[in-house]
Structures are given as C-alpha cells and as structure tokens.
Symmetry: D3
Subunit: 326 residues, 6 copies
C-alpha cells in the first residue's frame, strides 16, 4: 500500500573532496546514489509512503545502501538480499571550467545485475500502490535485469499503478538498438515519460525543439505525459534549470532557476521526485513546479539525494531573493 514504488540500482559513490582529481586524492567522501533510490528518497521526504526495490549483498556495504534509504523513510523491506554479487561503485570527480566533472562507473557484477524475473514479489509490493517508477538504467544493467524490468512494469500495469519512466540512457551500458528493443516492450504501459533532448536524440535520433520532441515521443509511444528537462551550463559551476511538459495536448513551462552548482548528480532524479509528488498530490502544474524547484535546490547540496522538506520546496517556489534566512 505505497504511494510510490521505485526499482533500480544504488551504488557506493566515492568522490574526492575539494576539486581534487581522482588520480590525486587521498580520501573519498562516501555517499549512496542511484537514480531510482534518489527519486524514492526525494518523494519520501516530501511526505509520501515510498518503497525502493533492488538487490543487495549481505555485507556492510549492502547494509549501508539500505540504511541510507531508510534514513529518509524509504521502505527497504522488499530488497532481495543475496550472498553473491557486489555493491556497485561509482567514482565522481568534480570539475571547474574548463574541466568538466566526470563519472567513472565500476558497477559490473553488482547484486542487482543478477536479479531475475521471479525474485521480487511484485504482486504483494504493488498491491494498492499508486505509482511505479523506474528508469532506463535498470534494464541496461544485464539481460536478466531487462527481463525483470519488463516483468515489473507489466505487473504494475496489471495492478493498476500509474507508471513513470525516466529514459536515462547510459551508452556505456548498452547500445541504442538494445535500448529501443527493450523500451518497445514497456512503453505502451508507461504513463509519464521523463527525459532530455540529449537522451532522446541518442536513442531515437529525434531532433528539434522541445515541443517537437515531446510531441514525437507522445505520438510514437502514446505517453499521457512527457516531461523534458533542460540544464544549461555555460560554465561548470553555474547554469540554469528549467523543464517543459506536454500533458495530453497542453504544453506547460516552469520557472527557469539560476544555479550555483555544488553537486549536479542526482538533480534529474530530484526532478522526478518533485514531479511525482506534485502529480500525486495535485496536478500537472504542481508536478512541474515541484519538479523544477526540487531539481534546482538539489544542485546546491552535496550527494545524490535531495535533502528537502515539502515546506522548504513550497517556500522556494515562492521565493524572490537570496537573503540569509534567520
């Protein structure tokens, strides 16, 4: 009986402090991150009942991953615990103009990459759940993960959940062909697609303005709602955030937020979290407003997660200046 259930991998994130290069560092800051867990944390913090489904090894690192979701109220009781398989790791190097930030993945052979259809009790988990969310990373992890994702989406549809999907194309994990092939099996069940122009072009070769791309996506796959996010980064440490939503036949635009970027990883997932929260507690207008505000805020916080409360996001939506708050 959850409001939102998400499904995917979370990794140990290891990042050198103070703009040190990976090759140069003597320590790593340790946090946890993974697209669908990031979104689950964001939604849970805003006040909805949320569960995250994944597979983890029985080890201190596996427990650390689960702990960090649970810390924010995310239900982790449906994780498939195993004796084999690693916790994936990703290394994050923060850059400054002209050096771009950089992510190096070391996620092969993670516990979740061995997950198979049947491992997760979807019927029990999704019973009464309002919305199921996953992203294009989950099926890209392995063949069996692709099958497990299809299984999950199908079950979610059957159980009457709304389904949201972030395209999240990772070219190091699979080819556009493989991605299209997998997506073809699930896109007819997806209600809300969240993506960027870059990913759409990479996977489907769709080019053009916001509106065109959104319309093409709707026309091709029948999504009720398509959200396109845009991060403009004239420099590595500054930029703007905005998004555009095609809901049915209506186009909506949100605010454009200026950004001083402390940590941009996970901000797309924060958008998803805010969007889902607004969607489930209001309407598309609220979805885009909370998505944009939470995404923008998330750029200012170290780590993948969006450490904000409903009250803070609401306040941000109405904020007009950047004075210190006493």
């Amino acid at each position: 009986m959850y409001d939102v259930v998400t499904f995917g991998e979370a990794m140990l994130r290891l990042a050198p402090p103070d703009f040190l290069r990976l090759e140069q560092t003597n320590s790593f800051d340790v946090t946890i991150g993974g697209s669908e867990l990031n979104s689950a944390v964001g939604v849970s913090r805003l006040g909805l009942k949320t569960a995250w489904v994944s597979s983890l090894p029985r080890s201190p690192l596996g427990r650390m991953v689960a702990n960090k979701g649970r810390e924010h109220g995310v239900d982790v009781s449906n994780i498939f615990w195993v004796d084999e398989g690693r916790v994936g790791v990703y290394f994050l190097e923060f850059g400054a103009t002209p050096r771009a930030s950089q992510v190096i993945y070391d996620r092969k052979d993670s516990a979740i990459s061995r997950l198979k259809p049947g491992n997760v009790k979807w019927d029990k988990i999704l019973d009464g759940t309002r919305l199921f969310h996953t992203s294009g990373i989950t099926p890209a992890l392995s063949e069996s993960c692709a099958e497990a994702t299809v299984e999950a989406v199908k079950m979610a549809k059957e159980m009457g959940c709304k389904i949201s999907f972030d395209l999240n194309y990772r070219k190091k994990l699979w080819s556009p062909e493989k991605a299209r092939e997998c997506f073809a099996k699930i896109f007819d069940k997806v209600d809300i697609l969240i993506t960027t122009q870059f990913d759409t072009e990479d996977v489907y070769g769709m080019k053009g303005a916001y509106e065109e791309v959104a319309q093409k996506l709707r026309d091709s796959f029948g999504f009720s709602t398509v959200a396109l996010t845009l991060r403009e980064v004239p420099t590595v440490l500054t930029g703007t955030w905005s998004s555009m939503v095609l809901d049915g036949k209506t186009f909506l635009r949100g605010k454009t937020y200026p950004l001083e970027i402390i940590d941009r990883v996970g901000t797309g997932d924060a958008y998803t979290a805010g969007f889902i929260y607004g969607y489930l507690t209001g309407d598309i207008r609220k979805a885009i407003d909370y998505g944009d505000a939470l995404a923008a805020l998330c750029h200012s916080v170290p780590g993948d997660f969006s450490w904000f409360t409903e009250e803070e996001v609401t306040k941000q939506i109405r904020a007009t200046d950047f004075k210190i708050q006493r």
Copy 2:
C-alpha cells in the same frame, strides 16, 4: 581607559562544512560570533584598545568564547562570569543559488539573558572610554537585558562617551513594538546609528530611498550620524557591498565592492568596526572608507570575525586589481 567598549552576546557558531545541510552533516566547524564581539575584534585588530562586556558561564564553552576575543587583543576582564545559564548556540547552513543560507538560533536561557542592571561595573569600565557600542540584539535578549542596556547607554552618556548603535532588528527575539519602546529610551543618547533599509522598515515602517530614510531617522531621533549599508546579492555566492552616510547634513557614498561570498555572517559588524576605527582616528570620510573595505573583505573569510590588519585594509582601499600577491 579604552578606546572602544562593546556590550552584547557571543555564541558558539556551529556550521556544517562544504555546503552540507544541517540535517545532513557529520561535523560542525566551530567558531565564535556575536555582533558586538565581532565589532570589538575588528576594532582591536585595527589597533585600538578595546573591551567587550558580556556574561558567560564558568565552563569550557564559556572560556572558549572569552579566549577567542582575547586572541585578538580584546580585553575580556569585565565579563560577568556566572554558574547558571548556557552559552548560546547558533547553527549556520551555507547555501548556493537557489538555496539561501540559513541561521537557526538556540540562544534561549543564555548567561547574558539573565544579566541585570547592577551586574556590570560600568562606571569603572567606561571611565575614560571614547566610544561605547551596542546593538538592537542585546536588549532583545530578555527583559533584564533591555534594562541592562538602558543602564549601560545612560552611563556611557554620563561618562562622556560617544555612543554608536546598530539597529540589528531580530524579529524572532522581539516585536517591532517592543523594539521601538526600548529604543525610545536610548536613541536620544546615541550619536551614530548604523542600520539597513530592511531593518528600518521592519521596525519603523520607514520606506524610500537611502537619503530619505537616513533623513527621517535623523529627524526623528536626532542622531549626528546615520550610516545605511547595502548588500546586493543577485546570487547566494556573489554580490556587492556599499554604504551611504548622512553626517549632519552631508551625504557621503563609499566605493561599491564586488563580492565573492565565502561567509557573509558578521560582515555588517565588520562595517561597524571599520567605521568606528575610521571615526576615532580620522573623520567620517575615513569612517566610511574603512567601514566599506573591512565589510567587503570580511565576506571572503570564514567565521564572523574580520581577520585584517590596519595595513591590509588601507591597502585594499587603494587596490585596483585582484592579482595574486607574492
């Protein structure tokens, strides 16, 4: 026989490092801060004989507060040491656009909030002192603090000190009515008022341009000198600093300093320090020049205090570029 005596509270300041949110942090950077101590430190470092009057508990934290003033040459021998009452604490979270920085106070029941008229030997302390300074925070701490502030200001007037006052309105501590009521008892004795348009509007509802507000203040209360400071912050981490002074009937403007903001807390107190230093060692022109330069510089240094020497401020006033100094 001090050049300057200031009176007020200082607190333990606890701030997460590296833009972490309060809820998220695993450590706090510890410094000491409080408006009137900040100003005393600034003045002492510029070369004047300075004392800070307050009340502190006999404890490691109480000693830490006194130590940190003494480190900069501030005389702390007039502190009223007590067995009851806490050291106040404030939590500071550094933001980045669009997340504003945030201060949370936990200062209730501090030692100074229990201070009463008669606890401090003002006649001895202020004998031969040239200038007495306090701010609107001190009387806001408690009823007895308000009385103790009035006592101090009266005594300063009797002893022939110049009196400067920073309006420093804190709405979480008292209402505009209470503030006005208290200020009414002391403003006829104040020579120099330092404030901002925000505070003036909050307390007195005065609106309008710089010049108008300054003139209204002078006309209403008879201050010889009114200084209005302005920090413009288009983003959380960048901005400009400037100030305007109405001295008698003359308006003066200082330089407008561009800012890359490392830590903006305490910069208003640095202005006061620079202003008082210039005022006592030169004239109003020197006051505004040193006030602006010290305030601007203080934005670049972690902590409330302004760690600058007279030589450095003088050099900054004449500086024309930002090349590294070897």
Copy 3:
C-alpha cells in the same frame, strides 16, 4: 505490534576529534545519542521490530535525530512533533590517563522535557508489543516527564508487555529523594531491572557485593530479574566488561571481556539491547551472553550506537583470538 518499544530523549552529541579538549576544538563530530534510542537501535539491528517514542521539534536537528534512528530500522512514526522546545545537546570530551573523559549536558528545555501525559497514544503503540523499556533518565527530565513515564509504564503493564528499566541515575537532573519517589510508583510493574552498583548506592545507599545488592533490589521491589553490569577501567583507554544476573533465585555470570576503549558512551545501552534481544529470542543465558558481547563490542565503535548484526555478535561470543578477519 512491536517486539520492543523504548521511550526517552535523544540528543545531538558534539565531540571534539582526536582527544582535543572542548575549550580547544575547532570542530565537533556530530552523532545522535540517548539511552533509550541507543537501546532501540541495538535491538533493531539484531533483528527485532522496534519503535522509539519521544518528542522532537520540527527542525533540521529534530529531523536528524529521527533520521538516525530510522537509519537502523527503528520505527519513529510515534514521535510527538512540536513547534516549541529544543533538541538537547551533549558535549563529549575524550580523555586519556590521567585525564578522565567528560560529558557536559545542555539539555534543558528540550522538546521532550515538555511532554505531558496524554501526548502519546500508548494504547495504540503498545498494543501487541512484547516489551517496553525506559530508564531513570526519562522521568528525571521534568515533572511532566516523570508523570508521562508513570503513565507509559502503567499502560505497558495493562497491555501485558514485559517491562525493563535501566536505573540510569543522573545526579545533575534530580536528587536521590526525587528519584526514589518516582521509582516507587513504577517498580512494582518492572520485570527486569538493569543497573550498576554505583547507581544503586547513589539512589538507595545499597552497598556490598554483586550478589547482595542484586538480592536487596529483588527483595525490595520484587523484580523477576536484576542485571548488574561492571566496567573496570584501570586506565581511561583500557578495561574490562562483565555482568551478573539474578534471575529468580539463580545467579548467572557472563564472560569478562578485555577492552581497548574507543568510545564508551552508550555501551550500557548496548548491554540492554543485547540483553533484551537474548531475553525475547531465547532465555536468560542468551540474554546475558548477548548483553555482554554487544556491550563489549560497542566500546570499539565511535558514537553511542552499537553498529553490529546478530551474526557478528554471535561470532564474537564464540571468538577466541583477535586476528584480522579477511
């Protein structure tokens, strides 16, 4: 329907790193601690369904406290959230021979100190719960907390819970007279008393050998089970841990563990956690074995909490050497 419910205060714990004195430090390591939360975390990690009841302010620090319990699976949904009252703070200075470690509390006026009978829905929370635990700290926080504690213990008895109680006498919070007066109202309902010879002497003037003291306690108050713990610390950084239990008329002794002490705060609460876990999943023999092992292990870990799994504790009980584990 919990296995264990605990009730009490948790605080922000601020500790200088690297043996620095409080007066000397430039940073604090931040963790969360409080006797009953510490025990709840320990029990939850060992695998039982556990809830912690308390009161916290709606603030980043209040949320941090709840988060840190939730991180370990402790249910925090029964916390009484309020707008007034602080999060209590305690400062911990680590010593080395001959300097003893030192704790300074700044917990006055905390949210929980304002808790009143009626604020907590005990009937709902304790319905089906197997064991209720609190300690002598909770009623010592304020008059209304004492009443709320009596209310909770009575309700637990009515709902058929086993009740365990750690005497935990804090002389800075109340006098022996006050403590005895309060305990008189609840000790007839307590099944398991956990305490030390020091506390027993301080509150009841009972002196003598382990066995005598335990028997006096049982005879005076009718506890089914009395556990006495003993930490011997010939130096600040080394010592031994052991305990003795009088169960009905039977005396049991556990292993004596050698200790290299990294952080001794919270180890008594770890004993309680291990004891309760063993008691609810086995018998008194298991209770003392898990209590001793978890308490001993907890000395080696920074922070109040006992970061161990059931598997690790079981392994420790059987361990025979200190070789590195690969």
Copy 4:
C-alpha cells in the same frame, strides 16, 4: 638489470578513519596496497633497484596505483596496461579489542586477473635481475594468473635469479587443493620460502613447533631457506613481532619487538622487503635483522607500505629506548 623484481596485484585500499565501522563511515582514506608491490616499495626505499610487474587498466585509478609505486622509486615501466578490467578494491575496517580488524575484498575481474602467459616480457625484465619475488596470492587470482605465475617463476629460474616466495594463502580465493597443485609446479624452483604457521597448516596441514614446521617444509620442497614469522596479538592494538629462519640446517632467531599497532596490514610484506634487502646486501643474519625491524616498524605507519630508509632501520636495530628523537 634490477636487484629485485616482484610480480602481483595492487589494489585501491579504502579504510574508514578513526575506528569507524565500514557501514558507518562517511569517508574513506585512500591508499594503495598489494603484497608484492608493498615488498617492492620496501626494498626500493632501502636502496635497491626494484621493479614491480602487474597489469592495470588505463584509468585514473590505474594510474594512481602505478604512481604510488613510482613515488618510492619502484620501476613501473613493465606494467601491462589494458583497456578492460578493473582496479581491485579492498575495504579495511580497523578494530579495537574485542572487535578484530576486518578486510573485505572486492577484487574480482581486476585487470591482472585477465593476465595470460605471454603478456609480460619476462626475458627482458629478468635479464640480469638478482632476485624474483611473488606470493601465493598472484596465482590464486585466476586460472590464467596461475599459469602466468608459473611462467614467470620458470623464466626467473632460467635467467639465474634467486627466487623468493611468500605462501600468503587466501582461502577466499582458492582451496588448499588448488593451492597445493599450483605450488607443486614452482616450489622446486623457489630458494626462499616465507610463511607463517597458520598458512602452512591451512594449506599443508603441517602442525607443530616452529622448528618442526620449517624442517618439514625444507624436507618436502627443498627450499634453501625457510622463514617463519610470528605476530602475537593478545589485544587488537598491541602485540609482538618475531621470526625464525631455517637456513640450510641452521636455525636463527631475531629480536622480539613489542608493538603498538597503528596499521598491521602490509607488515608481512615489509618483513619480506627487509629480508630480501638484508639477504642481497649481506647474509641471512642481516636478512632476519632487517626483516624483523622493518616489519615491526611498519606496524606503526598507516597504509600498507613501509615508509623507512636504510638508515632508520639500521638505527632501529640498535635502538634501546623509545624517547622522542630531537
């Protein structure tokens, strides 16, 4: 034309600071370690010309591993750089009595595990080299590594190198049967065997006193020299180090060093380094003296490497007290 060439894996070592548990940490100290690189570093620092042979991926982490060897003068020009395969990782948790320290390996699929016979130009590398060293870890990494190890040892023998071998049995990597099978192919070429009673018992079931075990090893495999090291650790943080050598038919004992253990990982490799250095620049007496002193010293230094100079080790061998050196 090296004095010493070693062959094996080196990993990223990630260790929580300040006795934090792995599950609990927010940062990792990053160093590099691996048995044969550790020994190469030790030997190089003592003044001999040393090379380390391995395989690493072309990545920041791969470069970091090579850098850290090169920092100490180890020649890394013979590394086999590849595009596939990870840098192995090991997680190290420091314990304190009664909690043992713990190592968790995440080394599967490392670049070196894919190394095959023929990848390394042994004929060129070993030409003129005086001593070749590897350990039982290298062949345990994979089938192809086992073959590559046999290839290297054979070539070393052909090229006229002395060969030393540390048994270093890792039960998580292979079974005693597999180990024995592999060792059978190379032990007739090994001159110096370095091991412990634990490893000998695990692999060969040999039990008994020092002397017996050493003699059995020599009798079974024909080693010229057998060194057995002994670390006694009555507590996690204190202990003693000593070793015994059977050289031909002569038994030698070194000093027994008392230890305050800061970091025991890599100390066996430091023994190997000191032993080889003494062996190549003196005799067996010098070998055991430098082996013991360097191993003992290495317990006091964070990280796997032994950061000591020839002069310091010589001085330690003669040291009689622990006064501060000014």
Copy 5:
C-alpha cells in the same frame, strides 16, 4: 638521454583549507611546488622522458619533494643531496573578491641556494637531451645559484639542447638590475622565451601591446620564439586564459579559455609544460594549443602540478561544452 631537463627549486607548499587566512588556520594542506619541477611534471605526464635537477637535504622533507616528482615519472636521480640547507617553504592563502590570494615565501637558506657551479654533472645529464628549461627564479636564489644557472645554460648550448626560459621575475629575490645583469649572460643562448607583459615591464620597462613587446624582446635578445601569456582576472575566482606567440616573424594566437579558478599557482608552469610538449612533438601551433589547454585546465586542480594526460589535453582542445562526462 632525456627529452626535457629542467633545473630549479621546489618547495613545501603550505596552504590553509577552505579560504581560511594564514593567521587563522589550524591546518595546512601540504603539496610540493616549484616552477621548474611543475613544468617537468607536466611534461612527464604528457609522455616525454623528463628529469629535474635540484639540490635537496637528506631529510623526510627533502625526500618528500623528490618523491612527488618521481610519482609523475620525473627522473630525480640527478638531485644533489646535501646535509646542510633547508627545504624552502611557501605559504599560500586563497582569497576571494575583494581579497586577493597571497603567497609568503620562507625559502632563504634552502639547499639549492647553496648550490655551486660544479656540483651538478651537466655533461652527463644533458648528453642527448633535446631541451633544457629553467626560469628567472633559479638564478635569483643566490649568487652561486646565478653562477650555476649560467653554467647549466652554457653547457646545454654546447650539448646542442634547445633552451627555453621563463622570465619569472620575483622582485622579493632580486632587483631588476641584478636580473638584467644575469640574463645578459644567458639570453643569447635561449631559443624560447616565455613571459608576461607584467614581468617584461618590471625587468626591462618594456610597455605596449602584446605584439610590440614580443617584437622588442626578439629584437633585443634574438630569441627564435617568444610566448606571452595573459591571465585576465576580473574577480579572484573567475577569469580567462590566453597566450600569444611570436615565432620567427609569425604571430599566433590560441583559444581564450574561460576559467573558474580553484588554484592558479603553477598554471604558468603548466603552460610551459604544454608548450614544450607540443613543440617537441609537433610544431608551434601544437605548442600554443597544448600550452593554453594545459594552463587553463591546471586552474581547476588543487596544487601546483598539472594532473593531466595527453589524452585529456587533446580532448580539451576539441571540447565544446561542460557537460558531465560519464
């Protein structure tokens, strides 16, 4: 048989973290820096065989300096090790607008300042070397260093090396007169001069546009190639990098790079490294491209060194955006 040999001092660099002022800090970040070592490291990392010549004391700090060069593959076997003389130190304070960054040198009486002609075996070192590089700092260190520099440059010319020279005028070390006097002895042997308009004006009083200054330098001293670098810093933390080269009679301009400045010390030396690399592996066009790119990138990395690979610099030259690299 090196591609590049550089000659000069390297120091311990001590820098407060997090924008703390020198007077305020409780810790220093420790790295190694020195113009000619910085350039050697940059060149070595790009793939050329490089040696650095200097003098260091036999001490942990002396070894640290050599280690850090060796870590990047720089040959340090030609260092002149001595028993007398210190490792020089420089203190670096990072500023933010309007506070400029600041360097304080404590390098007097360093080992290299005592170096005399004859101490270094130049004939052996430079035999077969393609390019010799030093800067105006080396002869400024002492009278004997000036002589040793002249000796080295003469020998380099005799051995047929190309010679590059960075004017690097340090007014705290010597006067313009002294500098001109020394340069007069070596400029006829220098092929490539690298400098800035500031230094040229300080030493030679040459003013004017880029092109004029370059032409004057070529006309006065007969350099084949003159490179002028320009860092524009409208604020302390942002700016642009560009350079201009006069090669024979041809003027070349490179890209203008926007900069978010993390650490600008050593970036001029990175330019030299990139320039030399491009020059020796391509032509002047490649020299300016690699010089500019490496210099710009180096602004984003803490420490004096340029931690980049040939592949990364090449990629940067072609980069068009600042998106995160996954």
Copy 6:
C-alpha cells in the same frame, strides 16, 4: 607588575595527523609551541598575571604566535616586532612502538635569534614582577641571544625577581662547552633549577641517583631549589610521570602518574608552569603537586600547551579513578 615573566622562542609546530610519517603526510596540524611560552600559558591559565617576551616578525605567522599566547591571557605587549627574520618551525612526527616520535627543527634565522641586548625594556617589564623564567634553549639560539639572556637574568636579579631556569639542553643548537660557559654567567642568580638526569649528564657529566644529582647541582651552583623530572616510557604511547625536588636540604617526592600519551611535547614546560604556580601561591609541596599533576595531564592533550584550569588540576591531584565525568 606581572606575577611571572618568561623569555624565549615560540615556533609554528607542524605535525602530521593520525601517526602519518612526515614524508607521507598530506596535511599538517598547526599549533604554536616553545618552552617558555608553553610555561607562560600554563601559569596564566592557572590564574597568575603572566607576560611572555620574545621577538617576532610582522607577518601573519608572527601574529599567529602572539595570538595563541594572548588567547590564554598571556600578555604579549612586550614582544619585539621586527621586519627581518622568520618564525621558526618545528616538525613533529608521532610514533608508536617501536617507532619513536621525532622532532625536526627548522628554526635557524628566526626573528628572536637576531635579538640583541638592549632590544627589550627589561627594567620596565620586570618592575614589580615576582618571578622570571627562561630556559637553556634561549641562549642557545645565537650568540646575541646568549647575551640577551644574560642581560635579562641580571636585570631580573637586580629587580628582585625570583629566577627559575629549565636546563633544557638542545645538543643540535650548541655544545656542552658552550652551554656550560653561558650557564656559568647566570647560575649564581638562579633560584630554582628544573632539569632531568639526561640533560644534567649531557652538559655536566653528572651521573647517579636522583638525590645525588640534585645535591651535586645545588653544591656546584648554589640553587635554593632543584627539581628533577622523570618520564618513564616503556612504550611510545604509555608511561609514567614523577618528579623529585631538593629544597634547601629537604627532599620531596610527588605522586607517580600513569600516562596514556597523546602528545608528550610541552609536558616538561607544563611541569614548570604548575611548579611556579604552586611555588608563588603556596609552598614547595604545592609546587611539586601542581607541577606533577599539570605535567601528567598535559600528556593527554594535543599541542604543546596545557589547557587546564586551577580547578581541574586541584581535582586531578585528589582524583582516585578514571570514570567518565558527567
């Protein structure tokens, strides 16, 4: 009108954290230390009016040194500020058995080493002062420092001060001959000599038991009081502290304190501070009690200074166990 005036050098102390070797570290913890400043700080904290006389350069580091004395209430208004000369530095490496801790001095050419007779206004400073203290380090710094020390001691005698002197022989600074020659000029004016058997043997070749050595010293030089301190360190991190005093013809022994050693540098100076405090506020019995207690406590605190209050030392003298203090 001071109770105590001390005279000597203070340095920047740079120490790697966490037992890292100097050659290995990436950061230094920065504190200030110097025998006579250490003692001044200790005395001031115990409640006496104290001044420290030295010479420092006008620089951030010079100011830092003065600040850190002033932080503890030491009067630094008599420092001779100069434009030439460095702040001395010492590097401290913490060891663990069998690696001894190590100090490397880089103090040559410090500001104070250039101090000459006449630079300090001793007549004004010592007027009304009760006790003057210096140590054998001060005259060892340079010829002119030796003269300045003789000048100061003579003036102290003339002004009627008690004079205490810590032999503090530093063999790297001067020879026994030089030391004896200098001491011969001042020992007839010294009332209290504080030293160790090691130093006495090094300088005067005096051997034998405590009592013999003390008596020889008194007989040779006529001191009223001789204090010999003894630190026994069976391991690097544990030991005991005790002292013996010959006062006139009476021998006194203090308590023997067990020690867990966090930082032993400065503990001898803490003894001096406690001794002087007890001597000036009580008698020789009090002197030895406070000397021993403060010295023992100081071993548990990072840094040279003794961060204790009179109340804490008094409590320690009476302490009987090492339980945590709440």
